[in-house]
Symmetry: none
Subunit: 501 residues, 2 copies
């Protein structure tokens, strides 16, 4: 095949994939936000067909030839096209591990599992979800077996899908350091008087929270013409392209902070998607790189910036505009302490910054057992509750507050969780670099975070998937991953907060 022909065909395929994936994304977002409950019946059929078409865009004998032609012609191919071919080759190899029938059946399975998980969580009925979880695990194990060709541990195959280069050999010591560095501090804090300011016990009407969300998005620098906010059980971000990103949140009347930090977190993902260069859009290079890098951005805003002492000043000002009664007389320092209080808890998404990585570690431990084959599905709730007792000292009252809390497994996302902890660690190393270039805390105190976004856009966002993840990370972090930046940051922050050391 001529190189020119190969490139034309590759562009045609990406055009088709963009259209089909745009459609599937909108259908998913719609399904989770405003679609009526019973819409799953038609949605499943539409998604099954569209994903079949998506599969077919790269099916048949010609596609590998297209890729090979480009990959064999690096010197005559522009950087973007070559990188597209590289990434599409990776995807191709992943996708063709399973047959099309298996793949389509899997799409239907995850659609069903998602619906059942929602109901099972509501009813706190693990038994209802278990048979589907079993099928999802089976599928991913079969996938990992074929993909790894017996040369790699199954869980390593899955880890690498979400975070290029991640493995148990890397994550075991990473989590060990976190456990060793943070557990003594967590125990120390447990002996201190709890931070429990009365203003947190107020009621925060959802109508006001909706207004507050808009203001928070504006502070974060999100363009409302390119990103809108929906409401779902579990917050998420879905970016069709840089001009069309959707984030969601979940409001709780008794808690203004939960939704606020969800909006900021998802907003961080959105800014990443919105920051990739114009000329990468509608190709496979648009949007973010690995899950870990994605989480580094969301957790950067959520924790490093928006839970900082400096940001509490402008944040309090906006809270007092929207919730004058609930925040009357509150100081910025009280707000800072309130949003950073550390207490071992049951729910990962509501965990404080310090105990958060232990929630991730528990899931990592369970997934290791689940995928490498030791743990049975029926045993999982027991193990879950045991590990929460062991590492966080909390008693899980029911599966709704335990093993059924996260959506990831209903989507077969085994191997995803570690990227949250990796992302947090990447973020701290990026912060240390950023502090060398710009006045991070002066910017945070101004309440207009756009210069921070500009730094991240320059180092990370604009590349989309054009650069290799390790290259982007090295560029933004100034060196390879080193967990001690992360644990050092947490120790400094929490020792100060609780007057330790």
């Amino acid at each position: 095949m001529e190189l020119k022909t190969a490139i034309e065909k590759l562009n045609e395929i990406q055009k088709a994939q963009y259209a089909l994936r745009h459609a599937m994304s909108v259908i998913y977002v719609d399904g989770d936000t405003v679609a009526p409950k019973n819409s799953w019946k038609g949605r499943g059929k539409a998604l099954a067909y569209l994903s079949e078409l998506d599969y077919k865009t790269t099916d048949g004998p010609e596609y590998p030839e297209i890729l090979e032609t480009i990959l064999a012609n690096r010197e005559n191919t522009d950087e973007k096209t070559f990188r597209q071919a590289e990434l599409m080759k990776e995807d191709y190899d992943n996708m063709h591990v399973m047959s099309m029938e298996e793949y389509v059946a899997f799409q239907e399975l995850t659609n069903e599992a998602d619906t059942v998980w929602h109901e099972a969580k509501e009813k706190s009925d693990y038994a209802m979800f278990a048979p589907l979880l079993e099928k999802l695990i089976d599928y991913q194990k079969r996938y990992a077996e074929r993909k790894g060709k017996g040369e790699k541990k199954l869980y390593d195959v899955l880890l690498d899908e979400y975070e290029k280069g991640a493995s148990m050999a890397m994550l075991d010591p990473f989590f060990q350091q976190i456990r060793e560095d943070l557990t003594p501090l967590i125990l120390e804090i447990a002996k201190k008087p709890a931070i429990d300011p009365p203003f947190l016990k107020n009621t925060w009407p959802i109508a006001q929270q909706r207004i507050f969300s808009e203001k928070v998005m504006r502070m974060e620098g999100i363009d409302p013409d390119c990103c809108t906010l929906g409401e779902t059980e579990h917050p998420f971000t879905d970016g069709m392209n840089k001009w069309d990103v959707r984030i969601t949140t979940h409001y709780h009347e008794e808690d203004a902070l939960s939704s606020m930090f969800s909006v900021i977190h998802e907003g961080g993902h959105a800014l990443y998607d919105m920051g990739s260069a114009d000329d990468l859009q509608f190709t496979c290079l648009a949007g973010g790189s690995t899950m870990g890098i994605h989480e580094s951005q969301s957790r950067f805003y959520e924790n490093l910036i928006c839970r900082s002492r400096a940001f509490c000043k402008p944040l309090l000002k906006v809270m007092q505009e929207v919730f004058p009664e609930q925040t009357k007389g509150v100081t910025a320092e009280e707000l800072y302490r309130a949003i950073n209080k550390s207490q071992p808890s049951l729910i990962r998404t509501e965990a404080d910054e310090l105990t958060y990585p232990l929630h991730v570690m528990i899931r990592y431990e369970i997934e290791k057992g689940m995928i490498n084959g030791d743990l049975k599905v029926s045993e999982l709730p027991g193990i879950w509750n045991e590990l929460y007792k062991k590492y966080l000292g909390v008693t899980v009252p029911d599966d709704r507050h335990g093993i059924l809390q996260d959506s990831h497994w209903s989507g077969a996302g085994f191997g995803y969780f570690p990227s949250y902890a990796l992302g947090s660690a990447y973020g701290v190393q990026m912060l240390r670099q950023m502090e060398k270039d710009i006045d991070v805390w002066g910017i945070a105190e101004s309440g207009d975070l756009r210069p921070i976004t500009a730094w991240l856009a320059d180092k990370i966002h604009r590349y989309g998937c054009l650069k290799k993840p390790q290259e982007v990370l090295l560029n933004a972090m100034g060196g390879p991953l080193d967990a001690s930046f992360y644990t050092g940051y947490l120790k400094d922050k929490y020792e100060d907060l609780y007057g330790i050391g």
Copy 2:
């Protein structure tokens, strides 16, 4: 081709069409409701690709053979499949009247015309729109010439597209009777004191209107698990399947009735879509039949039931729950008079029940002249204004409030308007039949309209497109169309309201 093969292929095509159209519908609804403003860039790309795929489902030489094989084998084909082939043959024949090049050029023309019409309406500049209108008329006349093969009048060809069986021979006497029966009454009412209750001048906060909409949908019997409400500039209904229907409304703070009747009207369309039999779903037989029958359902709820004296009692109760201040001291009779006040006006979509069919009649008269060839495009605004003066006694101040008000012509929808009046007339005949079977007004007064929906579902909704429209109508109306039921109903209602006769 074997019959079995043909049926299998027809099912495959419908499966593909369902998926693609489901996706396009969700993308449209999302785009009109919650998508960010700049999302059009990606949406256009996705929709263009999906509609190309949709076109291709019936492209190529095999498709006509599939249809012919089934249509030649009625005795060996089940009722549903045969009807599917019949309807798909009609679509195919319509589509292939024009060449592919002509069809594509026409799509571009309507896109351009829509954009120009929006601007022309805003600027009240008919001259700007006229050259495009001329081209649209030319295209439809050419279409009608070829389709009718010189055997039918051109406008009859177009009328039949929207309302199977409709023709000038049927509509001329229909509108004549409406004109003769209603004009004296409208003139009589003009002499009476206007109904103008002060409570209508209140402010109706949108947050409360949203709550009210939910309650109104509940009264109408809409299952919220199958139908949700969005907010758009122009209200519409889009039904993916019976379990997934979306309706929209537009809130005006100074007017609670506008959105309320939009919700009820679109809710009527939704109930029709939601009532078609389970085994018709995901095929071309799901959803509603002709435009006239669809409008008969929406206008049935909007006018015949929800503007009735009986329904005003439960309606007032719900209004007083949600808007206690705005409706303090209002009686059901005052509400009844307020929502039925009649006054000749300029805008069709805001017209009352009595004057509404005259708005339609004016458009019918103009379209007859326009398509059959007597009227020139440059003459249309003059004729429009003349007819509004003649039949409604109102002076059109500018084209924005006159000939440019509706979107239909910019989409080349000549022949559509009569279905609004036909739908209204069908509805009254259905009501008269319904009164024989169930206690309609007792049900309306109870505020739970589900038994009314059950009757309509049994006579109409469940058939979807399985039965021929005329068969469904005859079944529900107990006889052929007779405009005197409609005009009789309007005369009785409005003579009583204004104390005439």
